[in-house]
């Protein structure tokens, strides 16, 4: 006999409560209008094709002596939009860093279209990223800058650091994969038998919507149903609804991936694991992680289902840095940016690590 026992009157009460919550929710949805995203003040200081480099305005209330002198450039992944770094005032890694006196710059890759389909991985690493680094160096007047790579942007940053050693002072990586072939990596397993060459040859750029479907496919029951039902539990909290909508916008605001760049990333990094195996070449030059000799802070999330810890932690033994530090944040791939614990923990940790290595402090 089943372990399910329902009281009829309770069923009716549950139905009524549910219908009321849903009705209130639909009413709120109507009133809520557009939610604001990425509100921290910033200025575009460099632009090239679809790429825009921003500098965030420093917080004047931070005392000069408390600031990190060397600027920090954030290189976000191309898979989603970088405003995840500044989703809303109380969930913003960037605001947290500014409050700690860090001079923050951010690369926005834009929305690649058909004109970008033949851009290579190296066009982004030694092209756009390199020119953004130079733009920050010139703008801030520093010979070397700090670089923070996020997810795929972290992988790009590692490649950049291996190839352009003289332009960086410190490197921070967040939820960054280096070993794409660990048993926990479901996405890698799924792409193992996919003919990426044929896919890109046929589709050109790879649709962001298709990638979203792939990510949802990792937890389809939770992500297509349960999370919306859960939201109804907090329907009286307008702020919670707005937070949800901001996140929802970010999740489904997925740029298409430049075809050739995607093909190279999937083939060289994901399928052949060249970065980890030291067999990667970009623009005819070998990319060796042992050439990454600058101080490196690697932050990963212990419950990350997209970049499992096992994909990130080998970094320590692969890079040539003598000053390597890692930190396991107790959360997931998204929680590491937006959770309350992340707001309290991550910006302070990054800023403190950078301050210890800031030239003035030495």
């Amino acid at each position: 006999m089943s372990g399910v026992k329902f009281d009829q009157a309770q069923l009716a009460r549950e139905a009524e409560a549910f219908a009321q919550r849903l009705t209130r929710g639909l009413g709120l949805i109507e009133q809520i209008g557009n939610v604001e995203i990425g509100t921290t003040l910033k200025d575009a200081i460099y632009a090239e094709d679809k790429v825009v480099l921003y500098r965030y305005r420093p917080f004047p209330e931070v005392a000069t002596r408390s600031r990190v002198r060397v600027p920090l450039l954030i290189c976000y992944a191309m898979v989603n939009r970088p405003y995840m770094m500044d989703l809303q005032p109380d969930r913003s890694l960037i605001r947290g860093l500014l409050a700690q006196g860090v001079d923050v710059y951010l690369i926005d890759w834009g929305y690649p279209d058909g004109a970008d389909r033949f851009r290579t991985f190296d066009d982004y690493v030694s092209g756009y990223l390199a020119r953004c680094v130079n733009a920050v160096r010139d703008y801030a007047g520093h010979r070397r800058v700090n670089l923070l790579g996020v997810c795929q942007g972290g992988t790009m940053s590692l490649c950049y650091a291996a190839l352009h050693r003289d332009t960086l002072l410190n490197l921070v990586t967040m939820v960054t994969p280096v070993d794409f072939r660990t048993p926990q990596n479901v996405l890698t397993r799924w792409t193992e038998h996919v003919d990426i060459d044929a896919m890109v040859a046929t589709s050109g750029n790879v649709s962001g919507e298709m990638l979203n479907a792939l990510f949802i496919g990792l937890q389809p029951f939770r992500l297509t149903g349960q999370k919306y039902i859960d939201l109804l539990d907090r329907i009286d909290d307008r702020q919670a609804l707005e937070n949800f909508l901001r996140m929802e916008k970010w999740i489904f605001d997925s740029p298409d991936q430049p075809g050739e760049m995607f093909r190279q990333f999937m083939t060289w990094f994901v399928k052949e694991n060249r970065l980890c195996r030291n067999t990667l070449e970009l623009g005819g030059r070998p990319v060796r992680l042992r050439d990454v000799k600058l101080p490196l802070l690697n932050i990963y999330a212990s419950q990350d289902h997209l970049v499992p810890p096992s994909a990130s932690t080998p970094m320590g033994s692969l890079v040539g840095s003598r000053d390597y530090e890692s930190y396991a944040f107790p959360g997931g791939h998204i929680g590491i940016y937006v959770s309350g614990a992340a707001q309290r923990e991550i910006p302070g940790r990054i800023a403190a690590w950078l301050k210890q290595r800031d030239p003035r402090k030495r």
Partner: protein
């Protein structure tokens, strides 16, 4: 969610109704009450939840309406009176409801599938029998390849759907196990919401096992590759038609983009001057913002 629908004679329901809790002897009244909530919600939803001007909000509203109707239908189904065809000893396996639903779903797909598959197979067969000869040879070949690719896609889609149906089926078994465990621990499932959450947990657990298997990865990849081939053949046929009207094709655009990229690389190479010789003289190209004075390099 669909598993709670289409269950006119569910065994779960019978299980529930065969052991009514005290005070729960008015199933018809309950069903009527729930139906009233559904009706009120429908009325309200037709007025409220209109376009808010925020696509993310509208999408959530739509999702809520879909889920809400399914949710209340699920509650309603649990409250309806037991059917007359309960087994004599009343020992009906619980959660048969999902099984019935799955069978219904599978049948629906099979009917749809057999119709589609029939047409596709006929086309493929017809195309394969056409001799690709004469002036129309290339066209005949293109259409034959297209039909074959389409048939392959449909076959693999059906295969994947069968795997996903099995996931749903196994998820219900897992749900049953969990509810029994809860009962044994004297913590029976007490609400539809709890049941739903437990079902999601069970389904994700079952799905995770399948998703990590080599067979699933291979099947997904085969379907993906077949879809790519189909798309390629579709493009070939469409581009032929576009050329007849002197309209641009993706292949032409690709040629242009490739040429542009090569030209840009040449331009970059020509304009690349060692940075060390120019650093103090020239600023990077700025298209916007930035008039700030640069401090001396440190």
């Amino acid at each position: 969610m669909p598993i709670w629908r289409c269950n006119k004679r569910s065994a779960l329901k019978e299980t529930l109704m065969s052991e009514p809790e005290s005070g729960s002897t008015h199933p018809e009244w309950t069903a009527g009450w729930i139906e009233k909530q559904r009706e009120l919600l429908r009325q309200h939803a037709s007025r409220a939840g209109a376009a808010s001007g925020n696509p993310a909000a509208d999408a959530v509203g739509t999702r809520w309406r879909e889920l809400g109707d399914a949710w209340l239908e699920g509650l309603s189904s649990l409250s309806r009176p037991a059917s007359a065809d309960s087994s004599p000893d009343g020992a009906i396996p619980p959660f048969k409801v999902g099984e019935e639903m799955l069978q219904a779903w599978q049948s629906a797909w099979t009917v749809f599938e057999s119709g589609q598959q029939g047409i596709t197979d006929t086309l493929a067969k017809f195309a394969s029998q056409m001799p690709p000869l004469g002036p129309a040879r290339e066209h005949a070949l293109a259409w034959r390849e297209l039909a074959t690719a389409q048939a392959e896609c449909r076959r693999l889609e059906a295969e994947l759907r069968a795997v996903l149906l099995k996931v749903q089926h196994d998820a219900l078994d897992a749900l049953e196990t969990r509810t029994r465990e809860r009962e044994a621990a004297n913590q029976p499932v007490g609400s539809f919401r709890e049941l739903y959450d437990l079902w999601v947990e069970s389904a994700e657990q079952v799905y995770s096992g399948v998703a990590q298997s080599e067979a699933f990865a291979e099947l997904q990849a085969r379907l993906g590759n077949a879809t790519v081939r189909l798309r390629g053949h579709q493009q070939k046929v469409i581009e032929y038609i576009l050329r007849q009207f002197d309209l641009p094709t993706r292949s032409e655009l690709n040629s242009v983009h490739l040429q542009l990229r090569a030209l840009k690389q040449q331009l970059d190479a020509l304009s690349a001057v060692p940075r060390s010789t120019t650093r103090r003289k020239s600023a990077p190209v700025r298209k916007s913002g930035g008039t700030r004075k640069r401090s001396a390099r440190r």
